[in-house]
């Protein structure tokens, strides 16, 4: 089986700070990481390879330094890594990104036909969950999103059975290979990199493809030109000027504070008074 995993390098958003005065993003020193959601897909791809054999190729589109993300994937056991990098991609929205990645997957398939493409559920920076579905549509692959488990895969009969999280339950779906899967977070636990893996990753020559090498004939379909959506403005959430009614009382014991709060809640908010009355009935009913 040939499995392609799309991984994105993202800024570690837990470390992003906004400048309190200028409202601009302070990017300096923010470490870049592999999008955490993509790691569940990488692990699942490696498990499938362990089960049925084959090859795992990791694919990333991004600036040259995104090579680090691919090296990381190699250290866990991916076989090949391709970085699609070109100035022409700057400003791509999800439609343009999925166009470029789909084109690269097609290119990868020339070497060895691709049976499965994995994407993360979503990214933590773009956070759209659209690139996966976008790639699937462009490559005319069956799309299985929010997969929590792969029950069976049969490379000979070209079939796969998965469990997919729906809103109110779990669907068990069978589909034809090739297909595109996005894994649900928490569905597996990423393995540790082996010594040999780390060693291989350090020396691994990550392939770099510009837009031509990625098979993109028409540069107007990527980057700003290929993006229907445009960011009009970026702004900070409006600070609420109305501060909380701070409850204090003379003695200030917890009991007094609690009583004062409850009195305010029930006298100033009639709806809450009714609700808090009902709540007790429920408790006695339990």
């Amino acid at each position: 089986m040939h499995i392609v995993v799309c991984i994105k390098q993202v800024p570690d958003s837990s470390q992003i700070r906004v400048h309190p005065v200028t409202n601009t993003i302070m990017r300096q020193g923010v470490p870049a990481v592999v999008n955490p959601y993509d790691l569940f897909s990488l692990e699942e791809a490696l498990r499938l390879k362990d089960r049925v054999g084959g090859r795992v190729t990791v694919l990333c589109m991004g600036p040259p330094q995104a090579e680090m993300a691919l090296r990381k994937a190699i250290s866990f056991g991916a076989d090949h890594a391709i970085l699609v990098t070109d100035r022409a991609f700057a400003g791509s929205d999800t439609l343009a990104t999925s166009f470029a990645l789909a084109s690269a997957v097609r290119q990868i398939g020339r070497d060895m036909a691709v049976d499965l493409v994995f994407c993360g559920k979503q990214t933590i920076d773009g956070d759209t969950a659209q690139v996966g579905p976008g790639i699937a549509k462009r490559l005319d692959l069956q799309l299985l999103t929010y997969v929590s488990q792969i029950d069976a895969v049969d490379p000979e009969r070209r079939e796969i059975v998965v469990r997919r999280r729906a809103e109110g339950g779990v669907q068990v779906l069978k589909t034809r290979l090739p297909c595109l899967i996005t894994m649900l977070e928490g569905s597996n636990e990423l393995r540790f990199a082996t010594q040999a893996g780390i060693f291989r990753a350090a020396r691994y020559p990550v392939q770099r493809w510009d837009s031509k090498a990625a098979g993109i004939e028409d540069p107007s379909r990527v980057g700003l030109k290929g993006s229907p959506t445009v960011v009009r403005k970026v702004f900070a959430p409006t600070p609420n000027t109305q501060r909380a009614d701070l409850i204090s009382c003379e003695s200030g014991t917890p009991e007094d504070l609690a009583a004062t709060l409850l009195a305010k809640l029930t006298t100033r908010n009639p709806e809450l008074a009714a609700l808090l009355g009902r709540a007790g009935m429920q408790e006695t009913g339990r």
């Binding site: 958003s13 992003i16 700070r17 906004v18 409202n23 400003g91 929205d93 999800t94 439609l95 990104t97 999925s98 990214t123 920076d125 773009g126 759209t128 969950a129 659209q130 996966g132 579905p133 976008g134 549509k137 069956q142 799309l143 299985l144 999103t145 729906a166 809103e167 109110g168 339950g169 779990v170 669907q171 068990v172 779906l173 928490g186 700003l224 993006s227 229907p228 959506t229 445009v230 960011v231 009009r232 403005k233 970026v234 959430p237 501060r243 909380a244 701070l246 917890p254 009991e255 504070l257 709060l261 409850l262 908010n269 809450l272 609700l275 009355g277 709540a279 007790g280 429920q282 408790e283």
Partner: protein, 361 residues
């Protein structure tokens, strides 16, 4: 690279191609599963009504499902929640959600009847479908919007959403492509008012796809055991705890107050990550959005990523030992104090209050 805000707001023209000006009307995709409409559909209907009125165009619901009364019933509901019209595809292949037939059906409807705006819920179904339809139609899609407005100058949809880990918002427009698509998470918008006597026109359309052409088959469906899963989104009262509770044992104080109030329990992200509570209880940008009548936050600082998930609550009570905690900037009532003492006191006071009201009632 698809980080929206990483992009220069280029000086591109905003005039619409005349070919695209033919696209008119606002559509809301009516999501349903196992005979139940997802409430996000009616929240979107309320929002869609406002946009349609502002544009002076009709509002339509879109219903795809198996042939029969249950599916048609969703059209009636759509009218009662404000739709003027409903586009309906009934086909056995649409009995369960599958990407291929739903994408085909919705794409065909759009091409046939040309709406200018198409809204879907940012649910597992809605996100799966929206991404596929937008790519097939080659149009723009803005995910997880928190605010939708019409630009009065050029009638385009201005969709705002959090960016950069939620610390900032950005407004996104779709230029020279139609329809303009957006998804909105459940509980972000207000529910549309229900009018039992409202009706509308149903426009039927065939699905040009037969079962043998659909490559994905549903082998089974295992419904969630409702009792097992927390129902935060529709709880009237939520008691939530954060890192300020310090020890996992202390979280029991939150559970106790919740039990007395018949409330659901929520939590901030650090508490979930530390494994004190189930991830389904996380409130905020990467958790649930909630809209209770009362939200009690104990030991929660009120970081913007938490705030976006709960600021729709009618009344917010904050208990925090730091008078400068950001949560006091948007809470309704605040107690500056130690949650480990205030929570049990509040539990006691509520128990007493309830005993009294019950005796009185």
């Amino acid at each position: 690279m698809n980080t929206p805000a990483a992009r220069r707001p280029a000086g591109r023209k905003l005039e619409l191609d005349p070919r695209l000006a033919a696209y008119q009307g606002v559509w809301v995709f009516v999501e349903h599963e196992r005979g139940q409409a997802h409430p996000v559909s009616w929240e979107l209907m309320g929002e869609g009504r406002k946009l349609a009125d502002q544009l002076g165009v009709p509002l339509a619901g879109v219903v795809l499902g198996a042939p029969g009364e249950p599916t048609r019933q969703f059209c009636q509901l759509a009218f009662r929640y404000g739709a003027d019209r409903c586009y309906l595809i009934e086909d056995p292949a649409l009995a369960d959600y599958r990407n291929q037939p739903f994408t085909q059906g919705l794409t065909e409807l759009v091409n046939a009847y040309q709406p200018e705006i198409l809204l879907l819920g940012a649910t597992t179904l809605g996100r799966d479908l929206a991404g596929s339809v937008a790519t097939t139609l080659q149009t723009g899609l803005t995910a997880d919007c928190t605010e939708l407005t019409i630009d009065p100058e050029n009638r385009s949809l201005a969709a705002s959403r959090p960016t950069f880990g939620g610390s900032l918002l950005c407004t996104i427009v779709t230029l020279n492509y139609r329809p303009q698509m957006a998804t909105v998470r459940p509980r972000v918008m207000d529910m549309a008012p229900y009018e039992a006597t409202r009706g509308g026109e149903i426009v039927e359309h065939p699905l040009r796809l037969v079962e043998t052409d659909i490559l994905t088959k549903v082998l089974d469906y295992i419904p969630d055991n409702r009792q097992d899963r927390p129902q935060l989104a529709f709880a009237d009262i939520i008691v939530a705890g954060g890192r300020g509770l310090k020890q996992p044992e202390n979280f029991e104080l939150v559970w106790e107050l919740a039990r007395v109030l018949g409330a659901e329990v929520g939590a901030s992200r650090p508490v979930v990550q530390a494994g004190w509570v189930d991830p389904e209880r996380q409130v905020g940008q990467s958790g649930r959005t909630v809209r209770p009548k009362l939200y009690i936050a104990a030991g929660i600082s009120g970081a913007v990523q938490h705030r976006v998930g709960m600021e729709g609550a009618d009344v917010i009570v904050a208990i925090n030992s730091d008078a400068n905690a950001p949560i006091f900037d948007f809470a309704t009532y605040g107690i500056v104090g130690n949650a480990l003492q205030i929570l049990p006191a509040l539990t006691g006071a509520c128990r007493q209050h309830l005993a009294l009201t019950q005796r009185a009632g």
